[in-house]
Each structure stands twice: as C-alpha cells, then as structure tokens.
C-alpha cells in the first residue's frame, strides 16, 4: 500500500478543525440560524401576545364599569385577530419592506417570499414577522383605553385596522425598518416611539374627538373590578420581558440587561407613584401602584437595550412621578376624558422614556450605546418623538373624521347609558 502523505495531512487537518469546531462556543454570524436566539424569540412572541390577551384586556377591563367589561375584552380580542390578518396582508411589508425613508414597499405583502428558510439576522424571518406582529397588535389595543365606554364596535374595527396600516406601520418603518429615523440614529429599542408615543397621542386625539363620557367628571365611574386590573397589570409586567428582552432578537447579554433594566425601572416606578400618592392623599392606592408599574414599563421600553441599572432606576423613579401628575392633576385641569389614561401613561411615559434614553444611553452614565454627545442624542430623540407625535395626531384625526362620516364613531347617549356589552354585543359580563 502506498502511503499518501498529502491525503493523510488533509484528513488530519479536517479532523483537528472538526474537533476544534465542536469545542468552540457557538459564534453567531449574521447569516446563520441560531437555535438559542430562535427559541427565545418564539418564547418572547408568546409573552408579548400574552400582554394583550389577556394582560391588557384584564387591566383595562377591570377599570371600566360592569356594563362595559365585555366591550373592552372584545375589543382586545378582535384587534388581535384583525391585526393578525392585516399584518400578513400589508402591515409587515409596509413596516419592514425595502421601500424608501418613509415606508416599505409591497414585495412582502401576504408574506410572499418568506419561507421557512428565510432568515432575519439569526432567526427565521417568519418568526421575526410574527414577533413584530405582536407589537402591531398591542399598539392599537393601547388606544382603546382612551375611548373606552363610548365607541361603536364597527367604528373601532375600521379605525384600528386603518390605523395599524397607515400610522403604525410607517412609523415602525421609520424607526426599525430602515427608515429615516433609524438612519438618523434615533434610539428606540422596543417601542417608546413606535408603540407608546404613537398610541398615546392617538388616544388623546380619540378622546378629544369622541368627547367626554356622559357625566364625566362629576359622576363617579369607579373601576368595577380592581382585582381583574391587578391580575392584568401583573401579566403585563411578566409579558414585558418578552417585549423588551425579546427586542434584542437574540438570547444574549443585551437581552439579559434589557430584562434587568425592565425589572428595575418597573420596581422604581411602582414605588415612586405609590409614595407620591401616599404623600398627596394620605394613603397609597392599588390602582396607583399598578399604574406606576405600567408607567415604569413604558418608560424603560425605548431605553431597554441601551441603559444600565442606574439609568433604569432613574428612568423608573422619574416616570412614576411624572405620569402620576399627568394622569391626575394635568388630566383634571385640562379636562379631557382619556378614560383609562392611554395618553397619561403611555403617551407621557413613552415621551419621558424616549428623551431619557438620550441621556442614560451614554457610557458616562452607565449606558451601552454608541452615541455622540448626550446633547446631540437628546436632540435626535426629540426629533423622533416630535415627528411621531405630529404624524400620529394628524393621521388619527383624519381617520376618525372619515370613519365618523361613514359609520359614526360614538354610540348614542342611550346606548352609552345602557352599556356597550348589551348594546354592541347582546351580552352581559356576569350572570348572577
């Protein structure tokens, strides 16, 4: 037998390389599937869906009067279904298609071209699209808090469907889909502008357009079940790990830090709202504590991938106090009926978070982003927030005006007095 030295060397080298490969830690490369990342994002998708159904549904549902509880649950559930279909049809491609600086093009309408093999970073693109869908679901669902107890179901479906396609998706494209805000360097890790400022402003516009509920503010309209609201808020807190840590789109240290700062900010905000109320009124309220938690969750959202624990403490404490004032004093002074504080908590909290992201993302303050100066970044954050506010406000008003002309957005006075559960759905929430 002739001994082939070259062949021997080649096999040896292959053998050594194979051995090395087996023992090296898995290195994520931009164009290969990472099963750890994929497994986490599958989980995160479920967590964020859970935030809407039933997290937000119960949080809002408990805050309305008994006669309207089903209307809130139904709105959240129906929005989930409707956004799912519309996202596939057009939302995904408008948000994440190539397109231009303003919106994506339609090459991925109906998720065409997205196969089980298509990748988005280290996860399957189809999974990325579904993860993003859960954001496109919860954003319009947040708005319902502003027009609770007085909006027609049909008008709500038309409005939220159109809003997701025409307002949410373009803004999503600006910030995450390769649009102008992304190129400008705006920092929004998980949706301070795309989700919370967007929904919050839309909510304010809706509250102003629809007008106050009959009897507001002199008639007492107490939450029919704060018990449900606490359950809902707790589900939001847990689910938000999927929202923020999932936005790392990887199972790594960034995700871990995002989870940590989410927890820290929420703890701080719960306490700061609670203590603010304790000082103001003499007793801390359950509603205050859970709303403070939500404020902290909202505010840390844009910052979650960029700030450290100290920044999170500050963002939480500050957002708790500022949202406390916006949902109580400011709201009462200005007189608008934002029934469940979609603007007071999500709008204001999102704005506070977006601006503070510019501050605490700086490495000097414990942050992890590559930014120029704090001043420059805060300016960029301001531009992003202002653009979202302007677009959402104008767009929402136009949509509401059109829908009002077609089907009418508000229920009649008598329907409002009887309650939406009976008048919109022929059902009662409780039968005992």
């Amino acid at each position: 037998m002739i001994w082939n030295y070259a062949s021997f060397l080649k096999k040896t080298r292959t053998g050594i390389l194979t051995l090395l490969f087996l023992f090296l830690p898995a290195v994520a490369r931009a164009d290969t599937l990472d099963s750890g990342d994929t497994a986490w994002i599958i989980t995160a998708t479920a967590l964020v869906l859970f935030m809407t159904i039933p997290g937000l549904a119960l949080f809002y549902g408990g805050l309305v009067r008994t006669k309207n509880v089903l209307s809130v649950l139904m709105q959240c559930f129906a929005i989930t279904a409707l956004m799912t279909v519309l996202w596939v049809v057009g939302g995904y491609t408008i948000s994440f298609g190539e397109g231009n600086a303003f919106m994506g093009s339609f090459e991925k309408a109906f998720l065409m071209g997205v196969t089980p093999e298509s990748l988005s970073g280290t996860i399957p693109e189809i999974l990325f699209s579904m993860f993003q869908l859960t954001f496109a679901i919860i954003t319009p669902a947040l708005i319902i808090g502003a027009f609770a107890e007085r909006m027609k179901f049909s008008a709500m479906l038309l409005f939220t469907g159109a809003w997701m396609l025409l307002i949410y998706s373009p803004v999503c494209h600006w910030v995450w889909g390769g649009g102008w805000l992304m190129n400008m360097g705006a920092l929004d890790f998980a949706g301070g502008t795309v989700v919370h400022i967007n929904a919050g402003i839309a909510g304010l516009m809706a509250a102003l357009f629809l007008g106050k509920r009959k009897g507001y503010p002199t008639t007492m309209m107490m939450p029919h079940s704060l018990t449900l609201s606490v359950v809902g808020a707790s589900m939001l807190w847990v689910g938000w790990f999927g929202f923020n840590a999932g936005s790392a789109l990887a199972a790594d240290g960034t995700a871990g830090m995002a989870l940590a700062v989410t927890q820290i900010s929420t703890g701080a905000a719960t306490l700061s709202w609670m203590f603010a109320e304790w000082v103001r009124h003499g007793k801390p309220s359950v509603l205050g504590a859970i709303t403070g938690a939500v404020a902290g969750l909202v505010a840390i959202t844009p910052a979650s991938g960029f700030v450290g624990p100290m920044g999170a403490l500050a963002i939480g404490a500050i957002s708790g106090i500022l949202c406390f004032f916006s949902a109580t004093t400011v709201k009462r002074v200005l007189g608008y009926d934002d029934s469940l504080d979609a603007f007071g908590v999500h709008g204001v909290g999102g704005l506070v978070g977006a601006m503070l992201t510019g501050v605490f993302a700086a490495p000097a303050l414990g942050g992890y982003a590559e930014i120029g100066s704090i001043g420059r970044q805060v300016w960029i954050q301001f531009v992003g927030s202002a653009a979202t506010i302007a677009y959402s406000a104008v767009g929402t008003l136009i949509l509401l005006k059109i829908i009002d002309m077609v089907v009418g957005v508000r229920v009649s006075e008598e329907e409002e007095a009887t309650g939406l559960d009976i008048t919109q759905h022929d059902e009662k929430g409780y039968n005992y």
Binding site: M220, E277, H281, S285, F324, A327, T328
Partner: protein, 112 residues
C-alpha cells in the same frame, strides 16, 4: 299580625338572628341594601380625585310576627343590633293584613 322591618349594620345580622330565634322568631327575609341617615359616608380615591360615597352598606331584615310578640321582637333587635354608634339603624313596624303559607294554604297566625 305585624311586619317588622329592621335596617341594621351588616356585621350584626348573626347576633340578631340568634337572639330572635331565642324568643321564638324563626323566620325572616334578609336583603343587602345601602342607605344613610345621620351616618356620614366615606371617601374613595380614583385617579387622584376623591369622591364622597354617601350610601353605606346595610342589611334589611323583615319578619312577620303575631301582635303579642311584636314588642319583644323589637326590643330584642334593639339590643342585638345596637353598638351605641351612629349608623346602628332603624326598625319600622307595619300592620300586616294577611299572611299565607304557600305549601298548605294556611293563613293568618297559623301561617307565621
């Protein structure tokens, strides 16, 4: 026959029921109501706004008794339901024209 209606504090119902059964009053109807007399309500907080709730939860107890048992019934309720504080409640005594036991058709005192 008389119909004795007593509005009492919810927490005193058990005492009243027990005390009445001691004197031979073994039937009553109870409902949960709200009301106020001189007792002040309480405040509730919602989104930083304080609302005054005037109505206080109470229990309404109704029982039909023979004329010769009325005074004892009233005094028993007074001692069992009373706490000495504002909000103890009130008792009303009405003339009862007729009473009928549905199962047997008995009427009058037999039905009580």
């Amino acid at each position: 026959m008389k119909l004795v209606i007593a509005i009492i504090k919810p927490g005193r119902l058990e005492e009243v029921r027990e005390a009445l059964s001691q004197i031979g009053v073994t039937g009553m109807t109870v409902s949960e109501v709200k009301g106020f007399g001189r007792q002040k309500g309480h405040t509730e907080l919602y989104r930083g706004a304080e609302y005054t709730i005037d109505f206080v939860p109470k229990v309404k107890m109704e029982t039909a008794v023979d004329d010769d048992l009325v005074d004892k019934t009233v005094s028993t309720i007074v001692s069992a339901a009373g706490t000495g504080k504002i909000g103890d409640g009130k008792i009303f005594v009405l003339d009862l024209q007729e009473a009928v036991r549905i199962r047997t058709g008995e009427s009058g005192s037999e039905a009580l």
